[in-house]
C-alpha cells in the first residue's frame, strides 16, 4: 500500500510540474526582428479577442512568424476550423509574411522557453532565430 501511494505521489508531481503546459502564462509576444513590432501587437490583440483561445504566444523573426495558442477544452473539436479561420485572416491581413500556426502543447512549451530566455536577455539574435527554426522544424514533423 505504501509503495502504491508513493507511485501516485510521483505521478502527481510529474503531472503538476509541467509549468507552462498546464497553467496560463498570459499572452506573450517576442519580437526578434524589430520591423514587426506593430504587426505582432495587432495579431496578439486579435488573438486575445477570440473566446476559444486562452493563451497565446506570438514570435516574430525576420521571415517567419510563429503563432501558438491553447484552445479551450470544449472547443478542441473545432481545432481545425479555428486554425483555418485564423490562417485565412492572417493571410488576408499580411499577404507577404510567412505564418506558422500551431495549437500543439509542445510547440507552445518550446516557444515559452524561448520567450523566457529572450526575456532574460541571454540570447543573441541569431541564436534565437536558430531556436525558432528548430521549433518550426518540430512542428512540421509528422511521424
Amino acid at each position: 500500500m505504501k509503495k502504491f501511494r508513493f507511485g501516485i505521489a510521483i505521478v502527481t508531481i510529474l503531472l503538476l510540474s509541467g509549468c507552462a503546459l498546464f497553467e496560463q502564462v498570459g499572452p506573450i509576444q517576442v519580437v526578434i526582428h524589430d520591423d514587426h513590432q506593430e504587426m505582432v501587437s495587432t495579431i496578439k490583440k486579435q488573438l486575445e479577442e477570440k473566446s476559444e483561445l486562452y493563451d497565446t504566444i506570438v514570435i516574430a523573426a525576420e521571415d517567419n512568424i510563429l503563432v501558438t495558442y491553447k484552445v479551450n477544452h470544449l472547443n478542441r473539436f473545432q481545432m481545425k476550423s479555428i486554425e483555418k479561420t485564423l490562417n485565412d485572416w492572417l493571410e488576408k491581413e499580411y499577404p507577404d509574411e510567412d505564418f506558422i500556426l500551431s495549437s500543439d502543447y509542445k510547440i507552445f512549451l518550446e516557444s515559452y522557453l524561448l520567450f523566457e530566455e529572450w526575456d532574460e536577455g541571454s540570447l543573441a539574435v541569431d541564436e534565437a532565430e536558430k531556436k525558432l527554426e528548430k521549433i518550426i522544424e518540430l512542428k512540421k514533423e509528422l511521424t
Binding site: V11, L14, G18, L21, D104, K106, L138, E141, L142, T143
Partner: protein
C-alpha cells in the same frame, strides 16, 4: 443462433434455471473504471514524452503506445496483469495493453514446446489477428482517404 431441437431446447431451459446471472452492469462499470485508469496512465506517459523529449502532441502517440505495450508485457510476465484481467475483463483487454498481454501470455503458455516451434510459432496466436486486421483496415482507410482527398471531398 442455430435452430434447436426440442430436447436441446428443454436442456437449455434447464441450464437457464440453474445458471448464475451475469452482473453485466457491474462488469461494465469495472471495465470502464479500469480502462479509464489505464488510459490516464497512457496520457501521463504522453505528457512525459512531450515534456522531456522532442515529441509534439502528434508524434508522442507512437512512443506512448510502445511504452504501454511494454509495461503490459512486463506485468504479464510478473503475473499481475492476469489478475487485473480477471477483475476488469474488457477494461484491460481493449486498450493497447491487451495486445502486449496476449503476446506474452501465449509465449508463456507454449514455453514447454521449445523456443522455435513453441514460443516463436505461437507467440502471435492471438495478437496475429490484431496485426492482420489492423493492417487490412489501415490499408482500406488510407485508400478511401486518398481518393476522397483526390476528389476534393476532404480538405
Amino acid at each position: 443462433m442455430k435452430k434447436q431441437t426440442a430436447s436441446q431446447k428443454s436442456y437449455q431451459d434447464l441450464v437457464d434455471v440453474h445458471d448464475e446471472k451475469r452482473p453485466v452492469l457491474l462488469n461494465c462499470i469495472k471495465a470502464f473504471v479500469v480502462g479509464g485508469i489505464i488510459c490516464a496512465i497512457g496520457q501521463a506517459v504522453t505528457v512525459f514524452f512531450i515534456l522531456f523529449f522532442p515529441f509534439t502532441e502528434q508524434t508522442a502517440g507512437n512512443p506512448t503506445v510502445a511504452v504501454m505495450v511494454f509495461i503490459a508485457m512486463l506485468l504479464t510476465g510478473f503475473g499481475v496483469y492476469d489478475r487485473l484481467g480477471q477483475f476488469a475483463g474488457a477494461g484491460s483487454a481493449v486498450p493497447v495493453t491487451g495486445f502486449g498481454n496476449s503476446v506474452i501470455s501465449a509465449a508463456i503458455e507454449h514455453r514447454s514446446e521449445g523456443y522455435v516451434l513453441g514460443v516463436g510459432g505461437n507467440m502471435f496466436k492471438l495478437a496475429g489477428s490484431v496485426i492482420v486486421f489492423g493492417v487490412v483496415a489501415a490499408f482500406f482507410l488510407a485508400i478511401i482517404k486518398t481518393l476522397l482527398i483526390q476528389w476534393g471531398v476532404l480538405g
